[in-house]
Amino acid sequence: MEPLAWYIAGPLIGITVPVLLVLSEKQLGVSSSFRALGAFILPKVEYFNYDRRKDVWQLYFVLGILTASLILFNFTEIGLPPEKNASGQDFFQAYDVAYLPAFLIGAIFIGFGARYANGCTAGHCIMGNSQFAKSSILTTVFFFVGGLVATHFIVPFIFTT
């Protein structure tokens, strides 16, 4: 399937920011859901011993994201890219259990980095940049630096066919 065009998808993602604010005074964010989960697992650690009620809403939000993916992938073809890319070459198949260790390490970096940076792509890149926050602009730059380094210097050595 062809992806939903960026000029439709982008504004629909962005509109979540004012919708969340107006409907329930919440600032868009996703990664704090993991802090709220941490509060159940390590409640005695200072960082997790906090008023998790302010983050619990994100658990429902990510449950919704998971629900959308279970429905769409089980009953439709939506979201799956075509077999070949624009230049006619086969798309690389990264979702293979052979790469589980790479996904594990990458995900640990995501969890650690999102908390250390105080936000992820949702909270910094979309919400924070929508407010022109210095912290979010700086963080976004380093998200891309990290992504470029990983894509060009790490991925070619791990994701080999």
């Binding site: 939903l4 960026w6 650690v45 994201i65 650690f112 980095g113 105080n118 912290s135 990290g146």
Partner: protein, 137 residues
């Protein structure tokens, strides 16, 4: 009732990330190779739309639906945390081809990889919580 609202908004947010393929490893890999404008257009127009929304709320001092004044806070500048944390996050983004919300989408696509991704992100969060007092911000 609020829980249902967040669930529905999550389904909406997830559906757009799926339909636009923004969650997909290949799209993120493509973005970091500058091979396609798709992801840049998507992120750029998402930020522009969000900024317009925040601007309208501030300009017209719009209250929330329950009548409370809205004053969205900027995240505080934490130069070391933002840059070092951002770098770690970016490395993970490049490797897994997913940021945080897409990890939940990958879970619906391939439960083995998804479970490992969600477990890994939780583990990374726990590691940060344990080390927090030793890390400079």
């Amino acid at each position: 009732m609020k829980a249902l609202l967040y669930l529905i908004l999550g389904i909406f947010f997830g559906t757009i990330l799926i339909a636009s393929q923004a969650f997909h490893w290949n799209r993120i890999n493509e973005m970091f190779h500058f091979e396609s404008f798709h992801m840049f257009g998507l992120l750029g127009s998402a930020i522009a739309t969000g900024a317009l929304g925040v601007w309208i709320i501030k300009r017209f001092k719009l209250p929330s639906i329950s009548g409370k004044p809205l004053a969205p806070k900027r995240k505080p500048l934490q130069p070391v945390g933002n840059s070092v944390g951002g770098l770690f996050f970016g490395l993970g983004w490049g490797i897994t081809g997913a940021c945080t919300a897409p990890l939940f989408i990958v879970a619906g696509l391939n439960w083995q990889i998804g479970l490992v991704c969600l477990g890994g992100a939780l583990l990374g969060t726990l590691i940060f919580g344990l080390l927090k007092n030793k890390l400079p911000l």
